[in-house]
Symmetry: C2
Subunit: 203 residues, 2 copies
DNA sequence: CAGGAATAGTCATATCCATGAGTATCTAGG
DNA sequence: CCTAGATACTCATGGATATGACTATTCCTG
């Protein structure tokens, strides 16, 4: 029941259509959650059934009609309840880290390529976040906005997203440097592994 | 097929039992992945069936017998193949961020409590990671280890985990400061929401 | 005027992941 | 002696997530 609340939180600041939501939850600005269109449409349907959001049809001539969704009082209460429950710690879960973990046993050339790609991706998101933050601040300073700006929630999550991607970029660049240095220097140590069970005494 | 490779990567450096794996993959040192015992035992069984790991029974007298698993040549080849495939970008997915996103509309007292708790948790993991890195380095300097140390993979993922938790801690502390300042200062702006559908003209 | 991107949304399926409970043995503490 | 905790592992179930394919209309470009 996590996507549920992410959708509610996303609809707090503005009325959105399912399609607009999918844009917000995909690579674009998923600063606090990520989901695919199918999940979002399904979740919107459930949320509406449960009365936590209210949809209204908007007839359009230039393009297909759409339904805009707004959080109801019940939805806000549900979010309030959710915000008060204990939060489980969150963990990194990233294929790239799995690959780097095995750096001593696999080809580092491929790793370097992917770390470079990831660094570029992070850089792009950093740009997006920077721009987003500037837009929210307007002409105010960051300190000023943090104290008195409206919509502090989105601003804070955006700051986290920014820091996360900066961490990503810095780490990727460092890892690339390290792996390159090692390639040019000493040969990587490869441990051999067995192919079949070999019964053995206790350790 | 992600846990699969995470398990393989974890078994590269040392032969482990299922139980030891669960310890490594739970809060302790899940620097690159996280999983529950049930998933791990199931995955180990599948990996063994597929010949990617080999288990050997270790008879113990003081405690229940166990099975230690080792990566086979086929397993290493599978990891190699995996490491060469393109990596999807990874996204933050964190309940706490969802809650902070709705900070303008819910009680900030509860949020502050949870941010504080998360900061403490992050601090604890930072301590763990620091210790782990020191252990891996031994008496060498970090630069020295990065250049010539064995097991650079685990060291690099540990560095990422450390940076991630530092980012977590810093952000949580900052968010707490901001939310506290705002509480003592101005009253939070609460937007009202509707409870029923209200058909309306197009935007 | 043909083709592709963008808008707007849906269906089906398979795998992943989390939750909760349960088994059995041994050790250490009160 | 009794209980809690560590070791070592298993089963069942349901909800969350990812993948791939599909419908339909309109706008823009070549």
């Amino acid at each position: 029941m996590a996507l549920r609340h992410a959708v509610l939180a996303a609809l707090l600041d503005e009325e959105l259509s399912g399609y607009q939501l999918t844009k917000a939850f995909d690579m674009g600005v998923a600063n606090f959650w990520h989901a695919l269109p199918q999940q979002l449409y399904a979740e919107l349907a459930k949320l509406e059934q449960d009365g936590l959001i209210a949809g209204r049809e908007v007839v359009q001539e230039a393009r297909p009609n759409k339904r805009l969704f707004q959080v109801t009082a019940a939805g806000l209460a549900e979010l309030e309840r959710f915000a008060a429950t204990a939060t489980k710690p969150s963990f990194i879960r990233d294929d790239l880290l799995v690959k780097v973990q095995s750096a001593d046993h696999v080809d580092t050339g491929a790793l370097i390529a992917q770390l470079t790609e990831r660094a570029a991706f992070a850089e792009a998101k950093i740009g997006l976040f920077d721009e987003l933050l500037r837009k929210m601040r307007g002409d105010r300073s960051e300190q000023e906005y943090l104290r008195h700006g409206e919509r502090i929630g989105p601003y804070l999550t955006c700051l986290r997203g920014l820091a996360f991607e900066q961490g990503n970029r810095d780490w990727c660049e460092r890892a690339v440097t390290v792996l390159r240095e090692r390639r040019s220097g000493s040969r990587p140590a490869v441990r051999t592994t067995v192919a079949t069970q070999q019964p053995d005494g206790p350790e």
